[in-house]
């Protein structure tokens, strides 16, 4: 005998214990039994109170020896006891405990007193119940965090929208100041004093413009101009940047034959697209090599909406970027432009997807051809906007002071709801030799479009009633050859711009506007 324990001590360890004598009568019970099965009394035959599941009661002491598992169910009540039967000379100690169930926690029929201090099952069950409670709380916290995030996003969205509106209004004012200062210079610029004062006003307007640029950045607005750009010139001018993207082991070979053709794009977007295609090519050439970039002019249908049939052939510039890298298998090739798909371990899957968006937005398309082990060629096709315009990307200040007036009098439909801006623009354009029809609203412009054919539509975007993009869409429907130039300090939805439309950010410079009209 290692240790001898009193009934009370056994009860503290095993509150639901039972002891039966050799006649199978109950000779001792734990406090848990007294609490939950009050009808069970000392001296009572055990099988009158309990059904012993894994023993034949008649052969209990014949079958049982040493220590054996045992399960009991109370005949009066829905209580199960599990544990061990410990046989000894004077009978058997049923070292059992109440079976633990979910309901027990929910219906409060039992509490911790009914389980022994060293009972590992009850500790683990409590742990599970606690963790479930914590999970519930964590879910509530996660929902709170999500709501908080949404609130922050809403606040940011409201702030940026407000910043956008402020930038729009401020840009309109700056635009009026700039245009009217240009008028002042045109009319009285010979007077040195007036010229000096006009320069001060122009400089302050430029500083104001810097502030609106910050507001535009805050409102996540694009501030770049969409204009006709000479493809070969852009590539040539940026050779250094494009070459640096490839690193020291890859050489860049240019063969530019687009013959000075232009396409209407945002300069930054075009450069980003080229860089993304070059990065993609570089990553396919871990051992280095050569990448060929070539341009050419072709005619054919462009399928930027995914439709392969029915597209009319249009002249376009093709940019080919060919690498001698690892190439792609057909499965990879099919998914290459999928957003967030990347075959590289650290790839974001955004590069080619953004090139595809750029191509579609500008009315072009992009695709890849690849042979495994030989390399990949990317084809980017962009519609041709017009003819060569060598002055377009030149420094504005380098323009001749007395540029020749328009020989053939082009007709411009001018839509601007700010009267002072409208007045200044009319005066400037008429001074340049254009025939201008001014309209103070989109509705007025639609009436004018129904009555006459115009070469150019120059319109503000944000206006009460019919807005500029709606006017432009209708103008293109009525006169498909009309050149559309949108001007705004705030572009609510860049997707509303159709391929080929030019876009000029306010506050604008007169010289830049004249370039776009004549381009």
């Amino acid at each position: 005998m290692l240790i001898s324990l009193s009934e009370k001590q056994i009860g503290a360890l095993l509150p639901a214990f039972l002891h039966i004598d050799t006649q199978l009568n109950i000779s001792a019970i734990g406090p848990g039994i007294s609490r939950h099965l009050p009808h069970v009394r000392i001296g009572m035959p055990c099988d009158e109170a309990f059904h012993i599941l894994n023993f034949d009661t008649a052969k209990f002491f014949h079958e049982g020896r040493d220590v054996q598992p045992v399960s009991l169910i109370a005949r009066d009540g829905d209580i199960q006891l599990n544990g061990a039967a410990i046989f000894h000379e004077g009978g058997c100690l049923l070292a059992v405990r109440f079976a633990v169930s979910e309901e027990m926690f929910a219906d409060s029929t039992m509490d911790l007193r009914d389980f022994g201090h060293a009972d590992p099952v009850i500790l683990s069950t409590m742990l599970i119940v606690l963790q479930r409670a914590m999970l519930e709380e964590s879910q509530a916290t996660a929902i709170e965090l999500a709501h908080e995030r949404q609130r922050s996003a809403d606040l940011l969205e409201r702030t940026s929208r407000l910043a956008g509106y402020m930038a729009h209004d401020f840009n309109n004012l700056l635009s009026i100041i700039r245009l009217n200062t240009d008028r002042l210079v045109r009319q009285f610029g010979k007077d040195a004093k007036i010229g000096k004062l006009a320069n001060i006003i122009q400089e302050m307007a430029s500083r104001g413009s810097d502030i609106t640029q910050s507001l535009m950045t805050l409102s996540l607005q694009r501030t770049d101009t969409r204009q006709p750009l000479c493809m070969d010139a852009v590539i040539n001018d940026n050779y250094g940047i494009l070459d640096s993207v490839l690193g020291p082991n890859i050489s860049l070979n240019l063969k530019l034959d687009a013959d000075g053709r232009q396409t209407v794009v945002s300069y930054n977007d075009l450069l980003n697209a080229l860089i993304n295609l070059l990065i993609n090519a570089r990553q396919a050439m871990p051992l280095g090599g050569q990448i060929d970039v070539s341009t050419s002019v072709e005619a054919g249908p462009i399928h930027n909406d995914g439709a392969a049939h029915g597209a009319a052939p249009i002249p376009h510039i093709v940019i080919r970027i060919a690498d001698t890298g690892t190439g792609m298998n057909p499965a990879l090739l099919a998914r290459a432009f999928e957003p967030q798909f990347s075959s590289k371990p650290n790839g974001t899957g955004l590069g080619l997807a953004s090139v595809r968006n750029f191509a579609i937005e500008t009315g072009g398309d992009v695709w890849l051809e690849s042979i495994e082990g030989k390399g990949t060629t990317a084809y980017l096709r962009l519609p041709i906007a017009g003819q060569v315009a060598p002055m377009l990307d030149a420094d504005i200040g380098a323009m001749p002071k007395n540029a020749p007036k328009v020989v053939c009098k082009q007709k411009i439909l001018l839509v601007e709801d700010e009267p002072y801006a409208l007045e200044a623009l009319v005066e400037m354009l008429e001074a340049e030799g254009y025939a201008v029809t001014p309209c103070a609203s989109g509705e007025e412009a639609l009436v004018a479009l129904a009555q006459e054919v115009y070469d150019v539509l120059l319109t503000d975007v944000v206006m009460p009633g019919q807005n500029g993009t709606e006017v432009a869409q209708l103008a293109c429907t009525i006169h498909p050859s009309i050149k559309v130039i949108l001007m705004s300090g705030y572009m609510p939805d860049s997707a509303a711009l159709q391929p080929g439309w030019l876009f000029l950010h306010k506050p604008m410079e007169s010289a830049k506007l004249l370039q776009l009209i004549s381009a």
């Binding site: 027990m104 926690f105 929910a106 409060s108 039992m110 509490d111 911790l112 007193r113 201090h117 500790l123 409590m126 742990l127 119940v129 606690l130 963790q131 479930r132 409670a133 914590m134 519930e136 709380e137 964590s138 916290t141 709170e144 965090l145 908080e148």
Partner: protein
């Protein structure tokens, strides 16, 4: 202390003063939902800052606020996701207090890093308990008094709680009570 304590404090301020008061408190202390993560263990200094700020808004002293919060904590735990485990811990004042350490054993396993106190029942007679509270934290006597009062409320008992002795890391509480039923 762990984040559930902060959540309970927020709930108490909500109930007493409204949501705006809690938002103002959060703004003052530069805290937010990330300081209310249930299973996260935060620096006690942050918890005490929250208590002090809540006390100022509730027009209570910090000690009074701790007492009120101790009392509230028992109600909070008894009504929320912890209600079943609270019931399981004990169904009368004496058994609940004597089982608190076993509850804390499970809490400690569920929240590693939590510094949990110990409650030992030194005397247990009808209507009379002597409870020894032990903790490595100081300054929470009012909170524990509030907890014990909250437990008396929970079991619909009434009576008095007195401090018999204050040790370096322990306090002896004398609880005399009678069941209302």
């Amino acid at each position: 202390m762990y984040g559930m304590i902060h959540r309970a404090m927020r709930q108490m301020v909500h109930e007493e003063l409204g949501e705006e008061a809690w938002l103002a408190l959060e703004q003052k202390l530069a805290i937010g939902p990330t300081e209310l993560l249930t299973g996260m263990v935060y620096d006690d200094a942050l918890t005490m800052q929250i208590v002090a700020e809540a006390a100022a808004r509730l027009n209570l002293s910090v000690e009074q606020c701790l007492f009120a919060f101790g009392q509230y904590w028992v109600r909070f735990a008894g009504q929320g996701s912890l209600s079943s485990i609270m019931k399981f811990t004990g169904q009368n004042l004496a058994s609940f207090i004597s089982n608190l350490d076993r509850l804390h054993l499970a809490v400690g396993a569920a929240m590693p890093g939590a510094r949990l106190p110990s409650f030992a029942t030194l005397e247990n007679a009808p209507g009379h308990l002597v409870v020894e509270y032990r903790s490595d934290r100081a300054g929470l006597e009012s909170f524990v008094l509030g907890l014990l009062q909250g437990l008396m409320d929970r079991f619909q008992a009434r009576g008095d709680i007195e401090v018999l002795h204050r040790g370096e890391k322990s306090i002896l509480f004398d609880i005399r009570y009678q069941d209302r039923g």
